[in-house]
């Protein structure tokens, strides 16, 4: 049976609730509304206590109230009470009053519950309360915010004094326990601020973190209110204002969520985001949905709050004086002004002075921290953060993107350029995996990253309103860099490829900016391309790196789309992709970029399944670009291959010559040659007379091609490859594919697959014999350049020519240790291969391996070449020389195309 006074109290609460709802709708600030709600509850509960005491008769009465204390704690104690927040009450009593308190407590707690409030309650002596508070971080943090509701002020004061004192004695342990429990909660509710459906009470940067500041403030310094911390110089004034703004924003937001849900709801889910953005009248803007703007506000507040709290905690946690001493004693100087010590990289007093106002000095510090793989000491970073805002020449806040057809107003978007020195340190930071991602995040939080990449200011907290992404644009990009860095120790194929990439700074920079084009009406890849162009210019990247950066950003979804949505066993598709990518080096970067992009979307997005599908496309494409894929050169596969060849050789395999050559067979040969063929090759080579040449032909009915195998040794002639191609071409044979291999002892094994347009079906044996002799003669006898026939470009075949893709030649020095790789992409034309081979020969290059592929009209040729320098065969490292070779190849191929193609002449 509910008593009438309880029913009256319930009605009063309900009336208040409606009143508050109206006030909220009229725009009442969150802090104010929470205080009003809290006051109403105070009044109602106070009356209830009076009434209960009166009913309990003389045994209870006023005498009891002067002995005990009714205490509000937790959120209710702080007065941040949302419409459906719960109520935490504690009744403190002296030990002797225990029997008289019990009936009061029972009655009171039941009545509060009957009024419809969610209640947490306890009945404790001062001693119990302090003991519990000192041993349980949850109870401790709740009791920090104790507030006297009714009863004896002196008992309450006694409790608070004792509690503070005991807590301070145990502060180290308690702080650790409180932080650990908060960390566990953070992990459960997402470890980053940039969650797309955050819990506004528990996710990072939200109300819980603001309370954390109070708890640690009391435990560590005996000061509960942030305002007091500020007065004592423990919190910077700007930071205090930041968290007060965040507090107000979150309280009002929570009132809103509660009113709308009609219950205690703290999750800001997608439908609530949409509703709030609309009800708060966020206007739609260029490429940004209202909801995205609203959430950007949300992220700004929580991110800033999170950062202030993190800084405060770092400071509260470090024994600063001790840290300074330890740095002096145990640290070592890394540069004049910086020392590496137990608390991380610190700046000396002179160093701090140098950091002031110098972006270059700050970046030097950040770069050093990365190179030495140590964090920057909290005190030093704090100093930098304070300086960051005062650095001269702020870049304009609205960067001039999306540029094409931008309004004239963006003309003022003239950014001040970062000093070239600072850019160098920034690129060095990105070029060394270690802590680069985390440090870039620090730079972003200090608003320094936008000095180098102004678009980051706009991407801050930018929501990607879809079901796929879990993080905001800026966080996603930084996470992608961190993902790549972790590949350093990854045992899978992506890790192997990542470790082999020479220009990691280009890859990391591409990851850092790949999605910055989002949030405009235009396709984000197109905007991204312009951002990449501008970033490369700003940071002073050399032309070839700028080109790679632009390609990676512009095409960052290409490989993903192909791998997951297209049939990659379709060779033509792979070839088109290979042509688009153009070099093994770039393919490696795009492959890692694709993986890291996926990995940074959210936990568990990058998994073994996706890795397998993507890696398959990588291998297939690398096969086109380099002849074999570094990641497929798996030892066990080769081991098995050698075993099979040994079996095919039979007893011969045990002879020393065969055993030696079998072991020495290179990976590219092993992976490209079926074992029976390899056994035949070895026999052919074993029987080769000194300085001799042997050519063999075999018709392959299935592919309607003739396979020519030429065994010789490299000292027989110079320019073997170009002479052989000349011999074949002059007989009217069309070379479809070729592989040349250099084996142990300087033995050479070349294989060509050709089509003989003069014969449908197998050519007669004497024809093959003639060509074999011609091949052998071409190496033995110096001859003039061969005469070509043009009989095979029949009219019918020319019909299939689509718009001709551009001829392209790329040189790559980073994929192989010993060879320069030259990739040639062109449309098929008469004498193409011979012309290329001759040009390489004339340029003084030796071809060690080659892979020639013709697909319809598209030719993808790969040459592994060296030149002689200091009497040694080595890569062509001289960039100017390489560029000259590239240009000459382009020129000779283009000249071929311009040559008039005669009509079919039937002999």
């Amino acid at each position: 049976m509910i008593r009438s006074n309880v029913l009256a109290a319930k009605a009063r609460l309900a009336k208040g609730h409606e009143d508050f709802r109206a006030r909220h709708a009229a725009g009442c600030p969150g802090v104010e509304l929470c205080a009003l709600t809290s006051n109403l509850r105070d009044a109602v509960i106070g009356e209830l206590i009076e009434a209960t005491l009166a009913e309990l008769g003389p045994r209870g009465s006023r005498g009891l109230l002067s002995e005990i204390a009714v205490v509000a704690h937790g959120g209710y104690g702080r007065r941040d009470v949302a419409p459906y927040s719960d109520v935490d009450l504690m009744i403190l009593h002296p030990p002797r009053a225990a029997p008289r308190v019990a009936p009061l407590a029972e009655r009171l707690l039941r009545d509060v519950f009957d009024m419809g409030l969610d209640l947490g309650h306890s009945v404790r002596t001062v001693r119990d309360a302090c003991r519990l508070g000192c041993h349980d971080p949850m109870i401790c943090s709740s009791l920090v915010d104790s507030r006297l509701l009714a009863g004896s002020p002196s008992l309450f004061d006694c409790f608070m004094r004792r509690f503070r004192r005991q807590v301070r004695w145990r502060r180290t342990r308690l702080m650790r326990a409180i932080l650990a429990s908060r960390n566990a909660e953070r992990l459960r509710y997402g470890e980053t601020v940039f969650l797309l459906e955050p819990n506004i009470k528990r996710s990072p940067g939200t109300l819980r973190d603001l309370s954390l500041l109070r708890w640690i403030g009391l435990v560590r310094y005996g000061l509960r209110e942030p305002r007091q911390l500020c007065e004592r110089g423990l919190l910077v004034r700007e930071d205090l204002e930041t968290i007060e703004r965040a507090y107000e924003f979150l309280l009002r937001l929570r009132n809103d969520l509660h009113f709308h849900a009609g219950q205690a709801n703290d999750v800001l889910n997608r439908s609530e985001q949409l509703r709030l953005a609309q009800s708060r009248g966020y206007p739609p803007g260029a490429g940004l949905l209202p909801v995205e703007k609203f959430m950007q506000d949300y992220f700004r507040h929580t991110n800033q709050a999170s950062h202030v709290v993190a800084q405060f905690l770092a400071k509260a946690g470090s024994r600063e004086r001790l840290g300074k001493l330890a740095t002096l004693l145990f640290g070592h100087r890394v540069e004049d002004d910086f020392r590496v010590g137990p608390v991380g990289l610190t700046a000396t007093r002179r160093g701090l002075a140098r950091l002031r106002g110098s972006l270059t000095a700050i970046l030097r510090l950040v770069d050093l921290a990365n190179l030495h793989d140590v964090p920057i000491a909290p005190a030093t970073w704090q100093a930098i953060r304070q300086e960051a805002g005062r650095l001269p020449a702020e870049p304009a806040l609205t960067p001039g993107y999306p540029l094409a057809g931008a309004s004239p107003a963006t003309g003022r978007g003239e950014h001040t350029e970062p000093p070239p020195e600072a850019c160098r340190y920034f690129l060095s930071l990105l070029g060394h995996p270690g802590r680069a991602g985390g440090l870039v995040r620090d730079l972003h939080e200090a608003a320094l990253l936008e000095r180098f990449i102004p678009e980051f200011a706009r991407a801050r907290g930018l929501l990607q309103f879809n079901q796929y992404h879990k993080y905001t644009v800026d966080e996603h990009c930084i996470r992608a860099v961190e993902f790549a860095e972790r590949l350093l120790t990854d045992a899978g194929p992506v890790g192997r490829v990542y470790r082999g990439i020479a220009d990691k700074h280009v890859l990391h920079l591409a990851l850092l900016i790949h999605d910055l084009g989002k949030g405009f009406l235009e396709d984000h890849r197109e905007v991204g391309l312009r951002i990449a162009h501008e970033t490369a210019r700003r940071l002073g990247l050399p032309a070839h790196e700028a080109e790679a950066l632009e390609f990676l950003v512009h095409k960052h979804l290409r490989m993903n789309h192909l791998a997951f949505r297209r049939d990659t066993s379709d060779e033509e598709l792979v070839v088109r992709f290979a042509v688009q990518v153009g070099s093994p080096e770039l393919l490696q970067m795009l492959y890692v970029l694709t993986a890291a992009d996926l990995g940074a979307v959210g936990p568990d997005v990058w998994d073994g399944w996706k890795s397998e599908v993507l890696t398959d496309l990588y291998h297939r494409t690398m096969q086109q670009l380099a002849g074999d894929s570094p990641a497929t050169t798996v030892d066990h596969l080769f081991h098995q291959r050698r075993r099979e060849i040994r079996a095919a050789l039979g007893p011969l395999a045990d002879e020393p010559w065969f055993a030696r050559h079998l072991e020495a067979l290179p990976g590219s040969y092993l992976s490209a040659t079926p074992p029976p063929q390899a056994a035949a090759d070895l026999r052919l080579l074993a029987e080769l007379p000194g300085g001799g040449v042997t050519a063999r032909a075999q018709y392959l009915a299935e592919a309607a091609t003739v396979q020519f195998t030429i065994a010789t040794s490299e000292d027989v002639a110079v320019g073997i490859f170009h002479k052989l191609t000349g011999a074949l071409t002059s007989h009217g044979l069309e070379i479809r594919s070729a592989q040349i291999h250099t084996l142990a002892d300087g033995l050479v094994l070349d294989r060509f697959w050709v089509q003989d347009r003069d014969f449908a079906g197998p050519p007669p044996a004497e024809r093959l014999e003639t060509i074999n002799r011609a091949l052998e003669a071409s190496l033995r006898e110096p001859s003039a350049s061969p005469a070509f026939r043009r009989t095979w470009l029949s009219a019918g075949r020319r019909m299939t020519v689509a718009p001709r893709p551009k001829t392209n030649v790329n040189c790559d020095n980073s994929t192989s240790d010993r060879y320069t790789i030259i990739d040639v992409f062109a449309t098929d034309r008469t004498g193409l291969l011979y012309t290329i081979a001759r040009t390489l020969f004339e340029e003084g290059l030796s071809v060690w391996r080659a892979k020639i592929g013709t697909y319809l009209d598209q030719v993808v040729d790969v040459f592994y070449v060296t030149h002689v320098s200091d009497r040694q065969n080595c890569k062509v490292l001289d960039q100017a020389r390489l560029e000259a070779i590239r240009r000459r190849l382009l020129a000779v191929i283009e000249a071929l195309e311009e040559a008039p193609v005669p009509e079919t002449q039937t002999p």
Binding site: R565, V613, A672
Partner: protein
């Protein structure tokens, strides 16, 4: 009611999804899976390089349909997922006892 589990090539997912949606099948569950059928342990030769293939990455699509729509669904998936090569996948059809929509508690046909 029937449950159809279709194992298809991963790049055919969009085609299958669109084809089913066009025929009014709006609910499906998709899982990334690995497996092998007749291709077991085969070695794929392509451009002279060998790939050892153990488990092939596939997509599993699960669709629940009323009995009279089963034929349509099977035909639709076959048409959309076919390339004609080995490895196009398989479909498994099984009888389904019941379906319950968690939000409302509806069951049977109404819950599909």
């Amino acid at each position: 009611m029937k449950k159809v589990e279709a194992i298809i090539r991963h790049f055919k997912l969009d085609d299958v999804k669109n084809a089913l949606t066009e025929r009014g099948i709006v609910g499906m569950t998709v899982t990334e899976v690995r497996g092998f059928g007749r291709q077991k342990g085969h070695t794929e030769m392509y451009r002279g390089t060998e790939y050892q293939v153990d488990f092939v990455p596939k997509i599993k699509v699960e669709v629940v349909v009323a009995d009279d729509k089963l034929r349509t669904v099977l035909d639709t998936i076959v048409r959309a997922a076919q390339t004609g090569q080995v490895g196009d996948g398989k479909m498994f059809v099984s009888e389904l006892c019941d379906v319950v929509r968690i939000r409302t508690g509806e069951s049977g046909q109404d819950a599909i």
